[in-house]
């Protein structure tokens, strides 16, 4: 057999075994973690909110609840490029609340953990700040309520979109 064929076979073997170890082992193991009650509840409330064919413009068409529409807008406007939904396991506890357990994040899609945190974690914002009026003002003009904030002023969002967004934040217990 020519050496390059041997080489090609080896490449394929190595790469598939790597994929095997990581994806198959990792995902099947994680797939078997049962969802918690809260996860089931969240799934009913938010449903799957990434882009899909029934809501091609990400307007929240057909969303089961207002909070679900809000999550769609959260994704559309890219809030998750700054706000994580994952208090870290090592610190953050007093300020942002406890990190989620594996059971808590099952079923969710997309899970929006976020990777670059430039703003407070929001996983428990619904328990931390329940004043809706504050959220409305904050979204239109963040620096009016938090001087020094770098959050964008979402002046272009419609009132309906804003209602949905605040409902989503409120559902983050």
């Amino acid at each position: 057999m020519p050496r390059y064929v041997v080489g090609a076979i080896l490449v394929v073997l190595v790469i598939f075994s790597s994929i095997g170890i990581t994806i198959i082992a990792g995902s099947t193991y994680m797939g078997n973690i049962p969802p918690s009650k809260w996860a089931v509840e969240k799934e009913k409330m938010w449903a799957h909110t990434g882009w899909n064919i029934h809501d091609p413009l990400m307007q929240g068409w057909g969303a089961p609840t207002l909070a679900s529409k809000g999550k769609t807008i959260f994704i559309r406007e890219g809030c998750w490029w700054c706000h994580t939904l994952l208090p870290e396991q090592t610190q953050d506890w007093t300020y942002f609340g406890s990190p989620p357990t594996a059971e808590d994040v099952q079923l969710e899609s997309p899970s929006l953990f976020g990777s670059d945190r430039k703003a407070p974690d929001l996983l428990h914002i619904g328990s931390r700040n329940r004043v809706k009026a504050w959220h409305y003002v904050h979204h239109r003009n963040p620096r009016a309520v938090t001087p020094g904030s770098i959050m964008p002023a979402f002046t272009y969002l419609s009132d309906e979109d804003m209602d949905a967004l605040v409902a989503f934040l409120d559902s983050l217990k």
Partner: protein, 468 residues
């Protein structure tokens, strides 16, 4: 297949088209960063009523234009140029390459309009919605892979040089990686498995495509320009196999703070440290190849870019290996430190090598000399100094954020404390942004007015022996 291989396109058409498109994407991609970086420093600097000027909308467009547009197309151009040269044959199909390039440009237009309007999956680096995923796979990645593989099969030499192993394998890796990353868009994969697949994909786009292809390009141009043969093919073997084995596994190190199983984190952390092996093998091989030829470093513009890229690989990989251990990751995860690392990788290491490859390959393809070497030098220094300032600012800002995490001060305090660093990044970033149009201008002028040079046919090649 004959309609693809019938030769009515001049040799080098595909590579030229890819290179020029790539440079245009680099200019657009970095320009978009004016919006993202300024927004983080001065949040009300642009009109707030226009969604297209908002951070959350533009950020993914910036990332996609510099990765999918610039880096990927520069790779495609380099593949269409280097593969035939090393195989001592012609590109299998210039026509396929040409159409591939334009399909790619159309794809970038689609990417722009979907992402800027917020149509996204919400999964980082797999942001594209599934119809676009299918387009990317079928019309962007697959034709390129076919062209590279078919050229390799129709080669007129016995062995395959290191660069070719990387090209051939990386074309397979990127298709597999992209497909696996897109699975949650097509099938009901949710929860932790979904998060894991997302990051497995992100990690392997970097590890099985961007890193090896950048390295493969360096394996070609550094020996070629310096006139030295590759220092060691054995080390090349080590590099190749350890990339495939160790870089394909640690996807979970992007999720060290998430509730994924502990064994998976440990596994990722250990294999992540092992990436030092291919990384150091590569760097050593390249630097040793320069033996006795270091005087060329400042004399040859392509070498200057490419070697600087190689040198950036040293801090990049040391940083990478340590930042993903549990001891350090909790401190810097999610901070600007990571963004600095990401730019060190894609702007420092990868982009510098590709720009070197373009300064070398494009004039050869055009059969002309570089229009202005002076401009090329200015391009280099603006980008290099801009990048260093950018990197220092972000790394510093990241450490401030890390400290703020530990002391759990009110979050807003850390935002205020990092303001000067954001200004620093925006200002140094401007140097980089300003430099790239000079590059485009220089290359356009090269095509039009560059002094003609009788270049030897591309397939003539003495320096690089076709040893395996």
């Amino acid at each position: 297949m004959s309609f693809l291989t019938e030769n009515d396109y001049a040799e080098g058409t595909a590579a030229k088209n890819f290179f020029f498109s790539a440079i245009v994407m680099l200019v657009i991609g970095t320009m978009l960063a004016i919006i993202t970086s300024f927004r983080l420093a001065w949040p009300d600097i642009f009109p707030n009523d226009i969604p297209w000027l908002h951070f959350g909308r533009v950020r993914p467009v910036h990332v996609h234009f510099v990765i999918f547009g610039w880096i990927f197309m520069a790779f495609a151009g380099a593949m269409c140029y280097i593969t035939p040269a090393l195989c001592k044959t012609k590109l299998w199909s210039e026509r396929l390459g040409f159409w591939n390039c334009w399909a790619w440009n159309i794809g970038m237009v689609v990417v722009f309009f979907t992402l800027i309007n917020g149509l996204t999956t919400g999964r980082e680096y797999q942001d594209l919605i599934w119809p676009v995923d299918i387009y990317v796979l079928l019309f962007m990645l697959l034709p390129l892979a076919v062209n590279v593989w078919m050229t390799m099969l129709s080669r007129r030499v016995e062995g395959l040089y290191v660069t070719l192993w990387f090209f051939g394998a990386a074309c397979l890796f990127i298709i597999l990686t992209y497909f696996i990353g897109a699975i949650p868009d097509f099938f009901p994969v949710t929860g932790l498995s979904e998060a894991y697949m997302t990051w497995w994909h992100a990690h392997n786009v970097l590890g099985l495509w961007i890193t090896p292809v950048s390295a493969a390009i360096a394996y070609y141009i550094i020996p070629k320009i310096s006139g030295n043969t590759l220092y060691s093919h054995k080390i090349g073997h080590l590099h190749f196999w350890s990339i495939a084995a160790f870089y394909s596994t640690p996807g979970a190190h992007h999720l060290m703070g998430a509730p994924i199983p502990e064994w998976l984190k440990s596994f990722a952390s250990v294999s992540g440290v092992l990436i030092m092996i291919p990384a150091l093998a590569f760097v050593v091989n390249m630097l040793m190849t320069m033996k006795d030829k270091w005087w060329m470093f400042t004399k040859n513009i392509s070498l200057q870019w490419a070697l600087t890229g190689v040198l950036f690989a040293i801090p990049l990989n040391i940083q990478g290996a340590f930042q993903q251990t549990r001891t350090l990751n909790w401190y810097i995860h999610g901070t600007h430190w990571i963004v600095a690392h990401a730019h060190l990788a894609l702007l420092g290491f990868s982009t510098f090598i590709e720009i070197g490859a373009i300064y070398y390959g494009l004039p050869k393809l055009l059969k002309r000399k570089i229009y202005s070497l002076k401009l090329a030098k200015i391009h280099f220094w603006l980008t290099a100094i801009g990048f260093l300032g950018f990197w220092i600012a972000l790394t510093g800002g990241g450490l401030v954020q890390g400290a703020a995490k530990v002391y759990e001060i009110p979050y807003i305090e850390s935002v205020i404390a990092t303001h000067p660093y954001m200004v620093g990044r925006a200002v140094f970033g401007l140097m980089i942004i300003f430099a790239q149009p000079l590059f485009l201008y220089n290359m356009v002028m090269t095509a039009k007015y560059g002094e003609r040079q009788e270049s030897k046919p591309v397939i003539e090649d003495k320096i690089i022996p076709a040893a395996t």
